[in-house]
Symmetry: C3
């Protein structure tokens, strides 16, 4: 399985990497259509000009090709070679200008002389080229020819794509990543790859207690478009969620950025994992990050955190041409899938359970969960490989006592001084006997 | 008084001890009828077969006599000698079997060779005999005769019995003990004896701020029967309550097991007493205990704790024939009554008071609680033996300021750095002037 | 400005000091009418006999003159010389009595032989004279003549006077002082002087985010009269308030007594100032103080604290003739005005702001608050003298994220590790762009 999963994702990467995506337009839509082969995505497109909270959906950018010729006629930049050369959302240009006039339209990184930076200007009409600082330094005075073949479709729009893997409860876990950068690897494709990988893993789970919503959207404006149509649904059904980003880098542990509320299922559970150094964790900040900034804005205040491995801003390859397949390691992507699948499996039993027989103690004896005859010796019987008899009975009684719909199972495990995973069999036994139900959102 | 109280309770003990009680049946009903001579109990009987939350009320057990004869015809066990010999709720049997066939029906305690254990099987139809391990070891191979004279009445039921000692407030304190074991002393009769003793003490109190409900029921199923009919009343009126159990052993201090809520009147007040080592205290656990497990189940979550002296499970006499009058000391029972009466007397003034003139400061001057003329010298007048004048005025102002119906008087006493008892006179003065009222359940 | 403010207030002091005020009557009404020249006061008079919560408004005291002659006919006390000589609310008397009969009607301070004490008896009909202990010691046996010219008007009443300086929000800050003592300086006139001074300062503020209510009333009964008519308005609109008292003494720092709630705007902000030793602070107590005792009574529990400089009870001049202009320093009064104006200016931006674009991040780019083009270098631009560019952007994002109508700006400043004052420009920018609004009382 692991080998074929590697090949499966590797092929997807190779197919998606060359496409010139943006927050709208054919490249983005082609990428979504391609991914739809592997997940049954429903695509919604919000029309350009639509007011989305404080924002207006921009016109759709149709980009064909961008070229820059030097004074001697040689081709300096050609987006067909590397789509990072064009400032994303550049307007159409066909002109000749001096180097001096050209300079404000050029972008490079002085301290990374080989890297072509990634630059955007979605909401301010302009144009530009990105090139390596080395190449820029060699430009000589003279007349340059600029030809940018693009246009803006005022009747276009910004799409988002989602699918729901339904489970026993209508309470949802939202797993979201973004799709909007051109040829970038860790900071663009690692998230969608992990999303696809998790989808296929979870499809095979014998049961899902939560329902799982998978979402792909262009960053910021795309999540705002999604929120504009679904925020009421989320307010009612969202248990917690994760924004997935930068999951293919060399770091070993995952890093979780908590939700602004700080009290979500993942905030609590990963908090426990971080106490044991299994995860890294940091509090919410509005100063940087990804779409969790929108979900956690004060009007929504949704329980959405963000997961990354090698984070935006700390790796020098961020937002430039060095963020390529050589930097993003597919083994690291698969390791992220592994870690996240384990997290989600535990999250399934970490949430709030509801005692379905909450008035008095349920009669355990008639269900074979308690000795029917009360003698001096039958208290120490062992009937389970993970927990011995008395320990299992203690777990049963403690879980039933605490399952008021407001208490997290991970806190019950802590109270029992047992790892959450060791409770899985007891929890399943209680579910089979219809003594508890997970994730109903109801409280006593 | 103390001598006659001793004799009064001692006679009750001697009359009740020999009766073969169970969770239903003539022995239990005779015991309740006997106690009704000393407390005006109202008896409710819930019919066999009634669904009580997750439980079904079992048929009523009518037991006459159980005998076991050895191969040589000698009488090995006879319930007329000790009613612990019969497994409680044994079905009728009249048969001859081999020792090998008999063995699974015998119960003894290997590490307590002289003790006859107490064994029950209320919800699983079976039969059995209990005997000392010493006696069991001497049984020889051969044919045994078993004769158990009992029958089950499907039209019977499980009773509970209660009485209300009404007070100034409709807020109630529930004092409950169980009645369901045959001849056991500390673990059966000490609780009812303390309940009867307290009833007679409190009958003579000059006033009762709370109303007091006294309850006797067979453990577990009986409290569930009571709850099935009264839980809504309790949700509205119960201030706090105590399950009384094992109150006649040799320990000096009482031990309080807190309610699951952990915020009841007794949770708070006994918490303060435990800080001064006057009481022992432990948190709620669903793993063992008495009827507080039912009251504190998540659907009810009532403010019920449990009081014991020498606790179930820690004394080797627990649930066997060694728990007799020699072990249970009547002086210890009376000491428990003394300690609990003091607790309840203080609890009367430890709860939430309501300022009846809460808008601005009441005009204390017109009530003689404040100097009417404001001079440089009249601030230090002393008018009270317990608190001097200024200290009393401070107490008055602090109590009035804090009595919002949500603040416990015991916390006000702590704030004043005064023992709760020293505030009794001030509190009574404020009550006489209709400036505060206790235990209304209202808040500002 | 400072010199004329000094002269302005000094004149007011000199005009008000000689008037014999009480909790009702011509002296009090004349004082209010005089102050009305400088603040547009609305006067409300609550009729004698009106029930005001637990109190009854007393008859109005009309006092003309009180004299006491000795056995030799010499004039011992004459209220025309010092109005402290008469026990406030003395009934009319015209009689001759022995020294022995007179003594219970005389008041002096043995440990302050030169001081004439201030004594009142509002609610108990009596009469008396106050004099220095030195003078009292020299009284010789014989017949004394007492003549007190006063009467009680059962159709009078107790007045209070207020004015509102309206601001952008209907949320109010209440600034209140009392007016009811005769010729006392620090403990009577310093409060009204500070109130008048603050009114004139705030009249000139370019904007007021809160509305400010200024209130003068006789202590205790006057604040109860005010509350009886306005407590519902306060429950809805009061953000926080200050009782001003004893603000002209020699102490340097102001001392704040917190509200009973302990969570008001001033409780929090002055708490931060006290941590840096800029203010002194103490918790609420009902045992002594001024009108905050009425506002913080449990039925109201309003967010009212009290500010003083040299506090009642700790200066020996309290409530006697030594509390005069020599003791109360007008420079200290003006210093109190300065400190309180600074406090109120900061309080304007310390409260709860509401993000007006709370759904997602507002689009800062279109408002020039965020770079429209995202390049590797444009993150460090500086555009502000107080905060550099990135620090300002961080402040903007943090304020927007936290402004849920429930979070105090002073806590946001603490989170940013910046002094509150340094945020003023950012806050004003966000207000200009209609991204936040202060003090609406709404929450998200």
């Amino acid at each position: 399985m692991s080998v074929s999963e590697y090949q499966f994702l590797d092929k997807i990467f190779d197919d998606l990497f060359p496409i010139c995506r943006s927050i709208s337009g054919p490249g983005l839509e082609a990428s979504i259509a391609y991914i739809s082969q592997f997940m049954p995505l429903t695509v919604t497109k919000v029309t350009s000009g639509t007011k989305v909270f404080d924002w207006t959906v921009p016109p759709e950018w149709h980009f064909k090709r961008a070229r820059l010729w030097g004074p001697d006629g040689n081709l300096i930049c050609d987006s067909d070679n590397c789509n990072l050369h064009i400032v994303n959302y550049s307007e159409p240009v066909d002109t000749e200008i001096t180097l001096e006039q050209l300079q404000p339209h050029l972008h490079s990184i002085p301290h990374l002389v080989d890297a072509i930076p990634y630059v955007t200007s979605y909401y301010h009409r302009t144009w530009g080229f990105c090139l390596s600082h080395q190449q820029r330094e060699q430009l000589s005075a003279g007349t340059y020819r600029v030809k940018i073949e693009s246009h803006f479709d005022e009747n276009g729009g910004v799409p988002f794509a989602q699918t729901l893997l339904s489970g026993e409860s209508e309470r949802e876990i939202l797993l979201s990543s973004y799709l909007c950068h051109p040829s970038l690897a860790n900071n663009e494709l690692s998230g969608p790859l992990v999303l696809i990988g998790l989808y296929h893993r979870m499809l095979r789970w014998p049961r899902r207690r939560f329902s799982y919503r998978f979402l792909l959207n262009p960053e910021t404006i795309g999540s705002l478009c999604f929120l504009s149509q679904h925020h009421q649904h989320l307010q009612q059904h969202l248990e917690a969620g994760l924004i997935l980003t930068c999951l293919g880098g060399p770091s070993a542990n995952l890093r979780y950025k908590a939700s602004k509320r700080g009290d979500s299922l993942f905030d609590r559970y990963i908090g426990q994992l971080a106490d044991k150094d299994d995860w890294r964790m940091e509090p919410f900040t509005p100063l940087y990050g990804s779409d969790e900034r929108q979900y956690c804005s004060p009007g929504f205040n949704l329980p959405m955190g963000q997961v990354a491995k090698t984070v935006y801003g700390v790796f020098p390859q961020y937002h430039n041409s060095l963020d390529d397949k050589a930097f993003m390691d597919m083994d690291s992507v698969i390791d992220s899938i592994n870690q996240l699948e384990q997290l989600l499996l535990s999250a399934e039993i970490s949430g709030k359970a509801l005692n379905l027989k909450p008035y008095g103690e349920p009669q355990l004896g008639k269900r074979g969960l308690y000795p029917n005859i009360n003698t001096p010796t039958n208290r120490r019987t062992s009937s389970d490989q993970l927990l011995d008899g008395r320990q299992e009975l203690n777990a049963i009684l403690t879980i039933l006592s605490a399952s008021d719909g407001n208490t997290y199972m991970l806190d019950i495990a802590k109270r029992l001084n047992l790892p959450l995973a060791s409770l899985r069999q007891v929890i399943e036994k209680l579910e089979q006997h219809q003594l508890i139900r997970f994730n109903t959102g109801e409280t006593l």
